[in-house]
């Protein structure tokens, strides 16, 4: 196969774009896709301060690298989740990446800050670890972004993540989640704006971007992810994608352009007060994170 742009030998084929690219043209393709996502969904304005939620995996490192390549001087933050060797290694990938480039990375340890970690939280709540983990990450990234005076929090969610979440929300008709699922969540009192610059890139593309850019990332899977529904949805979508390239992108883009507004209008955002525990915005008196912390830190 030859590169669509320059006719050199291709390193990757992208059936969805009916194209193949060499290393340099592929990296350019990734930058263009991120540029388009930033523009289409008004993610970052001139001069705003951006914090990237880094995990040490392919998506968040690619996200950070691509934002910087597009001239946005984003900083990074990584959370020590306390999931054994997996967390230790993930943090090390993030640190090595940042140090090699001289980019600022803040490392925050959940146990030091809150007195619990993901495995103990999962045990205390007797719920799937990803629930407690996601809640903790959302709370902490937002909190640190606000403390640090950032305007925007960028996450590494890619096209496959969005498509899988959308499929799950549709299969179970989660109207409230559908109303909130979008590539840019505007900031409001106590919340920074949250953006997903990689929504136009598939997981295969973000992984390939890291490989051809010499970015070392955590390839191992989180030991707590095994068997969760999210992975099953991704596999199902990829089975369809292999037969009908472009399905995932059409599913997600069509939802945002044609369907999202109907859910958002039917479910106006609740008015929020300040959590009596931590001051974060919440529809109740104590936020979900503080309730988790009370049970998990015991």
């Amino acid at each position: 196969m030859k590169c669509r742009r320059c006719r050199a030998a291709a390193v990757i084929d992208l059936p969805r774009h009916n194209a193949a690219f060499c290393t340099e043209c592929f990296r350019r393709h990734c930058r263009e896709q991120v540029r388009r996502a930033l523009d289409e969904h008004r993610m970052v304005r001139e001069g705003e301060r951006v914090l990237v939620a880094v995990s040490g995996g392919k998506d968040s490192l690619a996200c950070w690298d691509l934002l910087r390549a597009l001239g946005i001087p984003a900083d990074g933050m990584v959370i020590g989740l306390g999931i054994g060797d997996y967390s230790r290694d993930s943090t090390r990938y993030a640190r090595d990446f940042a140090e090699a480039r001289g980019w600022p990375l803040q490392v925050v340890d959940v146990r030091e800050r809150f007195g619990f970690d993901v495995p103990t939280a999962a045990a205390a709540t007797r719920r799937a670890p990803c629930g407690a983990c996601g809640l903790t990450k959302r709370h902490l990234f937002n909190q640190v972004a606000i403390e640090g005076g950032y305007d925007v929090l960028a996450t590494g969610h890619n096209l496959d993540d969005e498509a899988a979440v959308l499929l799950g929300n549709v299969l179970h008709w989660e109207e409230e989640y559908l109303a909130r699922q979008r590539p840019t969540l505007p900031g409001r009192d106590g919340f920074v704006r949250k953006v997903k610059p990689l929504v136009r890139l598939s997981e295969r593309e973000t992984a390939a971007y890291c490989v051809v850019s010499g970015i070392d990332y955590q390839v191992e899977e989180c030991p707590m992810a095994a068997g969760n529904r999210h992975l099953a949805y991704k596999e199902a979508l990829n089975a369809v994608e292999a037969r009908s390239p472009g399905t995932k992108a059409a599913f997600v883009a069509g939802f945002w352009s044609r369907a999202h507004r109907r859910f958002a209008e039917a479910r106006p955002e609740p008015t929020l007060g300040a959590c009596t525990g931590c001051g974060a915005p919440t529809p109740g008196t104590v936020c979900a994170f503080c309730r988790l912390q009370a049970r998990a830190a015991g």
């Binding site: 990757i12 084929d13 392919k58 990450k137 979440v165 992810a225």
Partner: protein, 67 residues
């Protein structure tokens, strides 16, 4: 050729030459869910793999639903 698969890590021997596409079909893997790296170069689906190549098949699907 020696083919290394990840998550969990394991190795299989596959007789070459054959294309990336044929290798994935033989191992029953979805091309949308993996990258194929020969030596240390990423290769597209029509690339020909020789019997002497060292090949890594790297899964790209990751993550929980925690965001």
């Amino acid at each position: 050729m020696r083919v290394v698969l990840r998550n969990p890590r394991r190795e299989v021997e596959v007789a070459g030459p054959l294309t990336v596409e044929a290798l994935l079909r033989r191992l029953d893997l979805n091309p949308e869910s993996v990258l194929v790296i020969a030596g240390d170069t990423l290769v597209p689906r029509d690339a020909r793999l020789e019997d002497t190549d060292e090949v890594e098949i790297r899964p790209v699907i990751s993550g929980g639903s925690g965001g």
